[in-house]
């Protein structure tokens, strides 16, 4: 019942009211998308352009006996065919050592095109480009490929056996991490109950609306220019390395991206395009089909996760022993880091003093796995939140009470020994999500209703030992309009808009008067990747700094013109005003610490009065320019730079900060057909500060449905290395008809390390949805399902097993 869970009152916190921040303004990218004016990567063409296709391995493991492309080359209209033999030194660097100057991980490179051996179904083997797409496709058919099948390894446990075929290195181990904190033996000895369970999650496809695409050409300076949908324009370096040319001879022009979710974090079409454009001297276009997008690009890692948890009768967790085994697929890509994130989040948002975690990722002849929204977090959360409910069941204690006893609080340290420095509103979020479910829907004989929730914590910003940086340029034009230049890739989550809204706030102009140039490695300052929920944190702080410098010039000139002190000047709605005559506003500073928490309440007098007392901003700009004050500034924001984790203990401070939140669902299980219907869904997250609340709500609504899909239908099926779900007909993702809208509750503690106290919400929005469903299904049936997704066959089996189970009484 709705009155049984009371939202926990929020601790005292200060949230200044601002003029543009916190307003659901129309996003700067909205109109172009709404009217179809946005030119996505696949929409772009050039005169004299060639069309490319990729020849891919039809088998998961084999030796190339013959790869004869002579007939394809001879086909009229074919401009170029390349194979691994043409590119003996072309390697794709999959490691991202950042700016640390560290060496790349050994063995982390993949061949651009297979040489001698193919290691997965879909591995690229040859490139073709031709005058038309049809000719390129016909040429693919003329490639003569003879192979000798080699024994493959199709499961990470097999891969770790001493006699397993070797896919990577001499032991198939792609990465290992370990955490040793406190004394697990002692902790287990202190426990009254030890609960042990093993959980499984499958391969998952990103399934963004826009498959990978791009056009490349050689410009008049000889620079290879690639217009591509990507989360990482810095891949110009990866392309340069693969081609063996200087980094300043490759330019990546990012486009508006039709969804990334981590799938466009690795190189996709860029190197192929660059090679073909260089070889032919002509523009080349390559657009993956949906089927090719499925076959060619990364997947979310399957994991096997075992939790052994010691707990006192009181509910206090005394020890956690966790093992994780992940499938890396045929090449490493970002597996080591995904595994690290999963390891760091493995125990969930709980304070546990005695912890032992061992995680390993193994190479197999399966699709390669890499980044996917949550980066190891969703897999970890499915396991730790399922485990928490199993512990509650074993102790006969309310799951909410169990969590309340163990939640991490500000000042506590995580399993990797990092102190939580910002607000940790786990209970505040969980109680609100549960309360939002309202009255419980009654059961019927064949339809059992269950409720569940899940909490989580998740880092935002990259691992700090990568020494992450971002840059942004902000400039004022003479008419009082503003230009932002920042290399941020906008992957549909409002990255560009957030930056513009921050600049509008600082410079006192309406959002419409800000224009942003983004995501071009040659002409916009490099901002780093749109990954790791880092752009608002990193580039948001960079634009805040840059705009603050410009603001200081305007304030200085306005103070002179108004005859008041610097502190008395505010910039608001295209005017410079004296606050002593107006009321309070934003202080003049670009420093996020100084700007955010100390800001005062909004200036909300009417504009005519302001106009009569203030100076039009354009006049101030003109005078400032005439006196040589800087009206443009390039700022660099550096995240904290740290060392890595201690390799023996896994202890260290390696994340900028964490987001906390919870998701609650009510579901109905048809015990005879195995169907699960989501009746209600509510998510509550502390986002620190919502720069644009409409965009934040959209992120959470979308993330929650992606997570519900993970729970209920998404599974990329691979049998003996062969993809069995090759298209959207077999691989089902949720439609708008499948789930109710998630009730989104946004909390703002103002304590994040992003601009104005913002935290990151892009990835975390997905994380708690699947374990919430898992716990609701277990509540409905009295029996848990330990593997995703919850298909009808698994549900029917669980319903049978739970037929006579007496369900514990629960308050909610």
């Amino acid at each position: 019942m709705s009155d049984r869970v009371t939202p926990k009152p929020l601790p005292p916190h200060h949230l200044p009211s601002l003029k543009q921040i916190g307003k659901p303004l129309r996003r700067v990218d909205a109109l172009g998308k709404a009217v179809g004016a946005t030119v996505y990567a696949g929409d772009f063409s050039m005169p004299n352009m060639l069309h490319a296709k990729v020849f891919r391995s039809p088998i998961p493991s084999g030796r190339i006996v013959r790869l004869d492309v002579s007939k394809a080359r001879a086909l009229p209209g074919v401009a170029c065919v390349l194979t691994g033999a043409d590119l003996p030194n072309a390697r794709l660097a999959t490691d991202l050592p950042g700016q640390t100057g560290r060496a790349q991980r050994k063995g982390s490179d993949a061949p651009v095109l297979a040489i001698d051996i193919v290691r997965f179904h879909g591995e690229p083997m040859a490139l073709v480009c031709a005058e038309s797409l049809e000719i390129a496709e016909a040429a693919l058919q003329l490639i003569d490929f003879k192979y000798e099948a080699l024994p493959g390894v199709f499961c990470p446990e097999e891969a770790l056996q001493p006699d397993a075929p070797k896919v990577s290195g001499d032991d198939n181990v792609v990465a290992r991490w370990q955490v040793r904190k406190g004394d697990v033996e002692k902790g287990m000895a202190q426990a009254d109950v030890i609960v042990e369970n093993t959980f499984y999650v499958p391969f998952v496809e990103h399934a963004y609306i826009e498959p990978e695409a791009g056009v490349a050409w050689v410009d008049e300076q000889g620079v290879i220019t690639i217009r591509v949908c990507t989360q990482v324009v810095e891949h110009f370096r990866t392309v340069a390395k693969a081609l063996g040319i200087p980094q300043n001879r490759v330019r990546v022009q990012g486009t508006m991206v039709g969804g990334g979710f981590g799938g466009k974090e690795d190189v996709t079409v860029e190197i192929f395009l660059a090679l073909l454009a260089r070889a032919t001297g002509r523009p080349v276009k390559l657009v993956y089909t949906r089927e090719e997008s499925f076959l060619a690009t990364s997947k979310r890692h399957p994991f096997k996760i075992t939790h052994r948890t010691g707990v006192r009768r009181t509910g206090r967790i005394t020890a956690a022993e966790i093992t994780m085994l992940a499938d890396s697929g045929a090449y490493p890509y970002l597996t080591p880091y995904v595994l690290l994130y999963a390891t760091g989040m493995a125990a969930g948002p709980y304070k546990i003093d005695n912890v032992k975690i061992d995680s390993v990722a193994a190479a197999t002849n399966q699709p390669f796995t890499s980044a996917f929204r949550g980066f190891g977090g969703p897999q970890a959360a499915f396991a730790y939140e399922s485990q928490m409910d199993e512990i509650a069941k074993a102790l006969i204690i309310d799951p909410l009470e169990l969590r309340r006893i163990n939640y991490l609080k500000t000042g506590d340290t995580t399993v990797t020994g990092q102190a939580i420095r910002s607000a940790a509103w786990s209970e505040e979020c969980a109680t609100r999500a549960l309360a939002a479910l309202g009255d419980k829907t009654p059961d019927s004989p064949t339809r059992k209703v269950g409720r569940g929730f899940a909490s989580y914590f998740q880092s935002y910003g990259r691992i700090t030992w990568f020494h992450d940086t971002s840059r942004a340029w902000v400039g004022m034009e003479l008419d009082g309009t503003v230009v932002v230049r920042c290399g941020v890739p906008d992957i549909g989550a409002g990255q560009s808009n957030s930056l513009c809204q921050i600049v509008a706030e600082v410079l006192g102009v309406p959002l419409e008067r800000v224009t942003i140039y983004a995501t071009d490695s040659a002409v916009t300052p490099l901002a780093g990747t749109s990954t790791a929920t880092r752009q608002l944190y990193m580039s948001g702080n960079a634009v805040l700094q840059a705009a603050g410098v410009v603001r200081a010039s305007l304030v200085k000139k306005a103070a002179e013109m108004l005859g008041v002190s610097l502190e008395d000047v505010d910039l608001d709605n295209d005017f410079a005003v004296a606050m002593s005559q107006q009321g309070p506003g934003v202080p003049a500073s670009g420093d996020s610490r100084a700007t955010a928490p100390q800001s005062r309440t909004s200036c909300c007098g009417n504009s005519e009065v302001r106009g009569s007392r203030g100076l039009p901003l354009a006049e101030v700009v003109a005078k400032a320019a005439a006196s040589g004050l800087p009206l443009a500034h390039l700022a660099q924001f550096n995240a904290p730079f740290t060392d890595g984790l201690d390799p023996e203990t896994g202890q260290g401070d390696i994340w900028p900060d964490f987001t906390f939140g919870a998701h609650a669902v009510e579901i109905a299980v048809d015990t005879e057909t195995g169907e699960i219907e989501v009746l209600k869904s509510a998510a509550c997250h502390d986002v620190g500060r919502a720069i644009n609340p409409a965009a934040v709500r959209g992120q959470i609504a979308g993330g929650s449905h992606q997570g519900l899909g993970y729970a209920l239908m998404e599974e990329y099926v691979v049998e003996k290395g062969m993809t069995k779900t090759p298209s959207l007909a077999e691989y089902l993702i949720p439609t708008s008809c499948d789930f109710p809208a998630t009730d989104v509750i946004v909390l703002e503690s103002g304590t994040g390390v992003g601009p104005f106290g913002a935290k990151g919400i892009g990835e975390p929005a997905l994380t708690p949805a699947a374990p919430a469903v898992a716990n609701a299904v277990a509540d409905a049936l009295g029996v848990r399902i330990f593997s995703l997704p919850f298909t009808p066959e698994k549900v029917i089996a669980a319903a049978d097993a739970g037929k006579d189970v007496v369900k514990p009484d629960r308050h909610w």
């Binding site: 797409l133 049809e134 496709e137 089909t289 089927e291 064949t446 005879e672 057909t673 195995g674 169907e675 209920l712 239908m713 007909a729 089902l732 949720p734 439609t735 008809c737 499948d738 298909t791 009808p792 066959e793 029917i796 089996a797």
Partner: protein, 290 residues
């Protein structure tokens, strides 16, 4: 993949179409193309010549006579969904159409195409099986009428010869009291292939006795099938929960899911039981239309 090169013939009359099918080797009819085009793009099916029959007048329209309903083979699923004739005489079919794929596909896909494709998960086939439908096949050699149950041979296999065109589907108007029910079980609510389809059409007298029962299943065996033993067990009996449960158990025996999908037997039994109960309840209230 792009579509391969192929020839398109656009006959203006049924006669022309049949002539092409009889004379041009490898010619295949196309109507909505929602299956064929996908297969052609994937390269799994590559007819050299396709004969576009979507516009042939003889293949269109839903008509009712004193005794029969006749649906042109090129009638789209969307047209069936909006047909007052089907709403009056064949709600079981309308319900099947409403669960068919999604609105975009329903605008193109045709009933003839759905039957000729003979996919295991056809949504129209089980509904039409409960209506005891017949298909009419035409060729230059003449016409023949075949019960749908005989027409469907196996997964993606029918008795249609390569020179034949399916021109219409017909069924006798069910009695005014006969009541139909349909349920599709899939992994999502729209745009998905059935995991199990069940259609029932039940009739009874005023005493609550079953006078006619037809039960059909799809996606639970290689091709849509009638559950005849279950039907026989009901006819002449009172529609008690026990009789319905017994029939549902028999219906599951008519299913033959692939190895690894045995759970479908459970789903079939549950859905048949529910649909029979639903139809039986409607009968006690005077029955609706089929």
């Amino acid at each position: 993949m792009s579509l391969p090169q192929f020839e398109v013939q656009q006959p203006q009359t049924l006669g022309e179409a049949l002539k092409i099918l009889s004379e041009v080797k490898g010619a295949e009819p196309i109507a909505g193309g929602t299956n064929l085009m996908v297969d052609m793009r994937a390269g799994t099916h590559q007819p050299r010549v396709v004969v576009d029959v979507a516009a042939l007048r003889d293949l269109h329209g839903i008509e009712v006579t004193d005794t029969e309903v006749i649906i042109g083979a090129a009638t789209t699923i969307a047209e069936m969904l909006e047909s007052p004739i089907l709403a009056k005489h064949a709600t079981v079919l309308v319900k099947a159409c409403s669960s068919f794929a999604n609105a975009l596909i329903r605008n193109r896909a045709t009933v003839g195409g759905n039957l000729v494709t003979a996919a295991p998960c056809s949504d129209t086939a089980p509904a039409l099986l409960t209506l005891d439908a017949e298909v009419k096949l035409a060729s230059v050699r003449g016409m023949r009428r075949v019960p749908l149950e005989k027409f469907l041979v196996n997964a993606f296999s029918t008795i249609r010869r390569s020179d034949e065109l399916l021109v219409s589907v017909r069924f006798r108007i069910p009695s005014a009291t006969a009541t139909g029910a349909f349920r599709k079980m899939g992994l999502r609510k729209v745009s998905c292939m059935a995991k199990v389809d069940v259609a029932v059409l039940l009739d009874g007298d005023t005493t609550g006795r079953c006078t006619s029962a037809r039960i059909a299943l799809a996606a639970a065996s290689p091709v849509a099938v009638r559950a005849r033993a279950a039907e026989a067990a009901l006819v002449g009996k009172a529609l008690t929960p026990e009789a319905i449960a017994a029939a549902a158990a028999l219906a599951a025996k008519a299913a033959a899911p692939r190895a690894g999908s045995e759970y479908k037997l459970r789903v079939v039994e549950a859905l048949v039981r529910r649909l029979l109960a639903e139809a039986a309840l409607a009968l006690t209230r005077g029955g609706s239309n089929a």
